[in-house]
Symmetry: C2
Subunit: 127 residues, 2 copies
DNA sequence: CGGGGGTGTCAGTCTCTTCTGACAGGGGGT
DNA sequence: ACCCCCTGTCAGAAGAGACTGACACCCCCG
């Protein structure tokens, strides 16, 4: 179910999601089986609200899924589970991703007609 | 040249390096051929010092390399080149990486005897 | 000699993320 | 009743990162 070539924004979301030691640890912990929030908080020794935030970020990136299971005894427990993923990080993948990156995109090689000075190397032409 | 299984910190550095739209764009631009800083700054329409910072980050992650080439006419131009990379992002890779992550690491499943309360959910036990 | 292009670096903002403590609840055992 | 374990959310402090303008210097061409 993994997307072979995610959109630029998609890839970016996944990357920012993984770019954190805490979140990597969460993924690793979750890879060994599903757990619920408080339990995981104890395992990783981190604040629950904090863990919550990280989990949401991971979920937004589609790396984990959380379901609120209401046990037969009525107590609610939110179990988180790892979504198996496998994406290959290569220059080609990046190129493809950049193509569909949010908002405007700079040309690879263009004169950029109306574009003003980009560099800051001018001594003081205008001033 | 690609390391099959980078250390935790290594992977983390690469991930944080890629987790930026600007840096992705830089990689994409650099994938089409080497360029020097000012040139690239014009292409991507960004400030040179800013681009510089991003390039350094990418270089620190080992994704690009920069060489200061002194042309025959004496002018110095710093060319940046993309280092071909290919790393697979999977739960297993993350597990392996977390194992060798900097500093302390939380156990996957331990009672943590002397560990105090982690969550902040207590109503007001102490107060 | 005055542009014009290039590199390198710095101090300062400014915005986003991370992190904490506290609060709101829901439900169950003793 | 009290105590325990769980979820969900929030305001605000603290920190890291992104970004800017200006400055230092180099060399060549007219």
């Amino acid at each position: 179910m993994d997307q072979a070539s995610p959109s630029g924004d998609e890839l970016l979301r996944v990357l920012t999601a993984m770019a954190s030691p805490h979140r990597l640890r969460i993924i690793a912990a979750l890879a060994e089986g599903r757990t619920y929030v408080s339990q995981l908080a104890r395992q990783l020794q981190m604040n629950r609200p904090l863990l919550y935030m990280h989990l949401q970020r991971l979920e937004a990136a589609g790396l984990v899924t959380g379901v609120l299971e209401t046990a037969r005894d009525g107590s609610s427990v939110k179990y988180f589970e790892l979504v198996p993923f496998a994406l290959e990080l290569t220059p080609e993948a990046v190129i493809a991703a950049v193509r569909s990156l949010g908002a405007e995109q700079a040309e690879t090689d263009g004169p950029a007609p109306g574009a003003p000075e980009t560099g800051g190397s001018r001594r003081d032409t205008s001033k």
